[in-house]
Structures are given as structure tokens and as C-alpha cells.
Symmetry: D2
Amino acid sequence: MPWTSPLTSTGRSALVPDGPWSYIFDVVAVQAKGDPGRLREALPEALEPTEDIWFYIADIISFSPNAEELNYEAPGLLQYKEAAIFVRSLLNGKSYAYCPFMYVDSDVSLVRGLVAGFPKKIAHIEMTRFHDLFKPKKYGGLAYRAGYGLMKLLVEPAREVDKLPFDDFGTWLLRRYIKPLGIDELVEFAPDLEYSKIVEGRGSVEVGGGINDELHMFEPVEVLRGYLYSVRIGVRELRVLGKG
Amino acid sequence: MPWTSPLTSTGRSALVPDGPWSYIFDVVAVQAKGDPGRLREALPEALEPTEDIWFYIADIISFSPNAEELNYEAPGLLQYKEAAIFVRSLLNGKSYAYCPFMYVDSDVSLVRGLVAGFPKKIAHIEMTRFHDLFKPKKYGGLAYRAGYGLMKLLVEPAREVDKLPFDDFGTWLLRRYIKPLGIDELVEFAPDLEYSKIVEGRGSVEVGGGINDELHMFEPVEVLRGYLYSVRIGVRELRVLGKG
Amino acid sequence: MPWTSPLTSTGRSALVPDGPWSYIFDVVAVQAKGDPGRLREALPEALEPTEDIWFYIADIISFSPNAEELNYEAPGLLQYKEAAIFVRSLLNGKSYAYCPFMYVDSDVSLVRGLVAGFPKKIAHIEMTRFHDLFKPKKYGGLAYRAGYGLMKLLVEPAREVDKLPFDDFGTWLLRRYIKPLGIDELVEFAPDLEYSKIVEGRGSVEVGGGINDELHMFEPVEVLRGYLYSVRIGVRELRVLGKG
Amino acid sequence: MPWTSPLTSTGRSALVPDGPWSYIFDVVAVQAKGDPGRLREALPEALEPTEDIWFYIADIISFSPNAEELNYEAPGLLQYKEAAIFVRSLLNGKSYAYCPFMYVDSDVSLVRGLVAGFPKKIAHIEMTRFHDLFKPKKYGGLAYRAGYGLMKLLVEPAREVDKLPFDDFGTWLLRRYIKPLGIDELVEFAPDLEYSKIVEGRGSVEVGGGINDELHMFEPVEVLRGYLYSVRIGVRELRVLGKG
């Protein structure tokens, strides 16, 4: 059975086909330090923010063994771009990567994510494409929506590194909240990650926002570094930790 | 509290703000007869299809007293187009307007509808605009997605009528199905309807479809008439009738 | 013969079918005063800017007797939204409405305009829809592109008026500039205008811009008033006035 | 000076910045044989069609030394997808690759191409992305617009080859036609091509079309093979050959 409607006798018309879903990400990311007092405005009460923020823009291919043919019969359905913010936060003393805002440009990704707890909305998202024949001196990524910019990242690639500081934030933590269904809970999302090359360099970030996207709390106090990487992501575990 | 995430301390960043939601529809619609044997492929087992099908394309403004400023500060968020199919169906001997497929072009509408049980996906939707200064001899509406057409309606306006045959289908019936949340139930949606002028005339419909949108079961056996109308829709009641 | 390629033996596949083209506009507009010294940065040398600026966002239906069926067979092709800035400017002592920037959200409109000299680019454009069943206290319009806002207009309708101050700017003046074709000339566009109701009230405007859209020179020194109106526009005359 | 308006004192707001432009293409292509009698309907009278047709869908990065920063500051402006049909045709006995239809999903590409003579329109275009971490058994590409499919290509990669049969068609030939500017001429476009890996395999093509896109004349009589390749394209020469 697929994850969502529309339902037919074959199940082949669903917005979100059956999983398990895996993802190939090309990512432009920037690590920054924010003001924990302001970050609290975007976090559930049970969470204690640290100053660590991870911003990224990604160009993504998703796939499932239960919808293999869509990757060539209607490839746009399973491709998308994503812009996200994660704040390293403590829940009962343990460190997690909490995601307060995430944007995508695909209905399949929007709903597939919402049912897991990812706080997704649709935005226009652009990113310098990774391509062997194209070597720009900087890579950029940006997202915008409803008349205003959301975020803009720039990274100047300088050196290969072994490890992404984002992985020290912890497993991912989401607030799954759908009021008309009576759902409000904290969900832990544990990803399986296989990186290919990770490149580090100078990074910059501009945070925007507007009437329906309050992002001022993520304004960096200090920008640390930028990263470019590709990664294959699977879902190791998804479990409810408690009330939202 | 808003209906969905993203959640902040103000609640003003949610994809779907708090309701109650109302809707202004401009509609191009066609009534047709289909083959109940094939229509069954798109219906839950508990339902008995009749031959009556209602197709429409609509241009919509939505609004809520809890998000009034969005209608001018970011008007695109609350406007959208919609393409839908309803089949008159019997549940325990009572007649309902069952909706097996619905398409919109907005993330707010997509998720606001999914949590009620509307089987929405994003599509490209176009419709001849209603305008006092523009009087074409025909009105058209069409939807497409993923490389193929979904439906195309044409209506030649001829005469005003008092009543829409769609309202004889019954209240609306939805299958709210979200497998990862363990939800599968039949939901009755009772609309409040205030029509302005209803115009009737010759109608035609082309049904398309493709790999992720099986619409062949809605191929008309006979096309009855077309309709143009504007209507203000509110939600009188939403209640669960039973398992999906 | 159509205006552009693609060309086939029937001429029915052209991006821009044959004219003459007429237009139905629903408009949210704001009149403001700017700084002529800065406005000069967006004008050809032969023009002398005044301080008068007209901003508008419009929701448009276009039609031609040579493509009548497109308005119902593929209605999206001939509908679009438009965001524009006009500066009242003097050429050889005569007053014109010079258009330095114009945005649309349709390829047909983009190219149909470019060949006349309208400086069009594609943007995302939104506007509070005019509808008899929907009476918001404010109307808004906004345009954005490439990660940033371009302009945002708000109008609070207060009273009907007889006349639009924009019409005192003069006929429209364009710089038709296509370097690879060796074209650089000033073109006068004289519209035929038939207004339906014009409403006036308080207006506000926010001017944005970014790396590929330098709009800072239009920052208002004083905002005068806002307007809501519908108008049918035809093309009375298009003629070359001189070099660009 | 940029290629087009909008013009400002810096030239940095133009839709099409100054060239020379280069392009990185990832391509899904299919070679087929058509019916020369029908192909003639899409060709200028001076041309004699052969039976050879080349269909492709491409994912493209464009760049110019005069707009280098746009590739990271607003990367979406210079990226696009393209769907095209070329017919090998004879002009005065010499073989050319004549392009009767081309679709893109970007305003920059649309206008940059139109001024050279490429018969571009905007469409929705999708393609299986090339990525080192993703190895599907088939690659697909498709384009759609105005309610209907335009073309859909599928390629099953099987073996590397040295050479693309498309290059035997000849240099590219375009009909630059803009009636309001009095332009109708045949233009030769000679590309500089640097291929990276070319892969060949089984190919299939579905040709669609609709009211504003007559593509029936390209219906294949025989489908030969499919190709996947990446190529860097520059412009060696663009010259007018004669009247259109």
C-alpha cells in the first residue's frame, strides 16, 4: 500500500508511493553560531538550544524499490531541491539536530516529509549545480517564497576534509504537529549516511524571511565555515520520543 | 494554534494557519455518466458507485479570520486553482459525492486538504478567467502533471439556471488515508454553499492520465452538460463515518 | 503569419500568434515621487526624468482575433501577471510614461512585449484577486525573482474617482534594445484605454531588488496614493521616435 | 553592453548579460527516422528534409565571463532544461541539423536563443539526473506544456561509444523569424563541442503535441538508438545564410 491517497485498486496513483525511501543529496552548507535566547522562539519548550546552527541547500534525487520506474518515467516527481535549518539542541541532556524550518519544491517531498514530522513548505530553491565539467570559484544556494528571500548561502571550496561537523549535532529531531489530526509529538529520525567527497572553505549566509516565515531568530552571530558534499541518505530509524 | 508546522512562539510561520477556512470558487464544470464497473477501481470497497460523475476546474480564493492579512501581504499563499472529480456513490444506501482525485497548485491548499481527507496532488491548472470585461464564447479548464494531461473541460454558456445537479450527489465523502500515521477512515465533509449566478450549456470533457495518475476509469460514457458558476463555500461539518 | 517561431505550414505553433492584441487588466497601483537624480540611472540619455513614478501589479487576460480559441483551449497561454514601473520623463520637452522595468510570468507575454520594446523579464507575481464575492480591506501585489523581492504594493480602497493620474504621464515610451540584432531605438506606444470603475485610497510601496535587478533608484521619496482599477487596453499606435 | 534590456547605467539588470556564452549539457537523446513528406510541414521551403531526426532532453548550465558571479549569486538564472528536435536537412545540397522546435524552462535561455534564431518556447521539462551515486537502469526525459505532453524519451544505457551520430547531421541551421521586427532569415550556428563519455543503448520516443504545438510530423517511422552524454558547447560561428 502507498503512503497516501489518491488510492486506486493498483495503488499506482498515490502522491507518495510506498517506501523505504533513500536520497542522494548534493549540498551547499554553512555552519554558524546563533543567539540561543532567540533560537528558543523556534523550538519546542522541552528543548534547550545551543548556539550551533547548520544551514543547507540541497539538490536531491529520491528513490524507493516500490517506485523504481518513476525515476525514468516521470523523473521530476522524485527529484527536488531543499533548504533547511538545523539547531543543535538538548533534550533531557542529549544532543540532537533539531529542524525548525525546511523548504522543498515538490509535492511528493512535502507530504512524505510532513508525515514524518519535517516542517516543510514549498519554496523556490536554486543551487549551483555540481558537475565535473563546471568548476566555479564559488557555489551558492538560495531559497525564496511569498515575495521575499529566505536564505542565501555562499561557499568557496578550499580543501577536502574527512568529516562534517553537522554529524556532531546528533540524530535529527522533529516536532510532528498536525492539529486537525490531534498529532503533536517529538520524533527522532536517525539517518544512515554515506558521504562521497566533502570539501570545506569560506562560507557566508544571509537570512531573510517575511510575514509567513519568521527566520530572524536564525540570524548568525558568527559564521564558521562552508561545506560542499554529496551524500546518500537512508532512514535507519524513526521513533516517537514524547509529546511535542 | 495553527494547523501545521513550522511552529514558532507566535504561530505565524505555519504552512496552514488556523481556520475556520472559507473559499470563493469560480468554476468550469461538466456532468457526465461513466461506467460504474470501472469507477469501482477508484473507490473504497464500502462504496457503491453510481454512473454520475462531476468534473470541475476552479479558480479559488481562500481566507480565514485568523490569517486575514495574508490575503494582501502575500496573496498568492491563499489563492489556488483546483481540478477535481467526484463520483456519486452509495454508502449504506445513502448518496454521497465521493472524491477520488483532486489536484491543486498550492502547498497551503494541498496540506490543508490532505488533513481533511481530500486526495490532493500538485498539478498545473489553467482556466478561462471570469471577468466582466471579457466574454468568450467558450470557457475551458485543464490540468496536467508529470508529462501528461489529466483532464480538459470546455463549456459553452447558454442559459442561467437555478440549481446545480452536483448538489443532488449528496454531501462530500473522502477517504482520509495516511499510512505512516495509521490513518484510514471515511470522512463526511458537509459544505455550506452560497451560489451567485449559475450558467448552463454544452459541455465536453477529455480525460487523460499517466503512470502516476490512473484516470481511465473516469472516461465518460455520455457527457451531459457544462456549467459555469461562482460559489462561496464554508465548512458546516467534518465527521468520521467509519473505517476506510 | 504569426509574430514568432516556431513556424509550421499552418502557423499554429508559434509562441506569439498574430495580433492585433488586446488586454484586460485588473490593477493594484501606487503613485509616488522619486529622486530624479537617481532615476536617471535607469533612463536613456535623451530622456529627462521628472519625480513622478507609477508602480503597478496587474492580473491580465490577452486576446487576439487570430488566436481566439486559445482563450479556452489553452487559457494559461494568454493569461499572465505583470509588475511594472513607469517614470514620467521628458523627451524633447514632451512628457511620456517611460518604462524602465517590467516583469511578467508568461513566455508569450515576455516575447510579445520584447519585440515592441517592453523591458520584460520573468518573475513570480501575486496580487489580491478582484472578485465580487470577496471584499478585503486591503489589496496587495508583489513580485519576486532570483531570491529577492522586487516590489510590494498595498492599497486600501476608499473612494471612486473619475480619472487615473497615470494618464497624465503621457503616451508610453520604450527603449527597444536587442544588441545581437543591432536594435537600439526609442519607441512610442500609444494605448487605447477603456476604464471600468477606478478606486483610490491610501497606498504603500516597498522597493526591493538584487544582483540582476537594480531597483534602488526607484525608492520613493514620497508615496502619494494607491489605486485599484480594471481597464481594457488596445494598441492605437506603435512608432519609432529615434535612436535609443 | 548586455544583449537585452532592462538597461541601467551599469548594465547589470539585463535579462541576457553580455556573452560569449558557453554551455554544459547532460543529455538524454534518441535518434529516429521520420517521414520526409510530413517533416516538410515544419521546414522552410528552401530546405529539403531527410528522414533523420534527433530528439533530446538536456539539463544545462550556461556561463559567460561577463556574468560569472550569477552562477553562484543567482544560480537559477543560468541553469535550465531544454527539449529539442533536429531534422537533418539539405540546403543547396549541403547537410545541416535544422531545428524546428525547441523548449526551455528559463527566460534567460528563451530570449538568448530567440535572438540567435532558436525557435524556443517555455515548457515544463524533466530528466533523470546524471549522478555518480545514482545508477538507474533507464534514463528518461520529458517535456509538457499547455495541458499536453510534447515528447518523452527513454534510454537504457548499454555501451560506451566514441561518436554521436547527431554530429553527422551537419552544423545547426535556424530560421530566425520575428515578424514585428521584419526579420526572417536562415542562420547557421556552428558549435564547438567537447564530449565527455558517450553511452549508447536502446531508446524509445513518444511524440505528443496539442493546439499550440503541432508535433505530429515528427512521429517516428523507426526508432534507432538512444544516447546519454555530457558535452561542453561553445559558439564557433553564427552567420546569416539567406532569407527564411
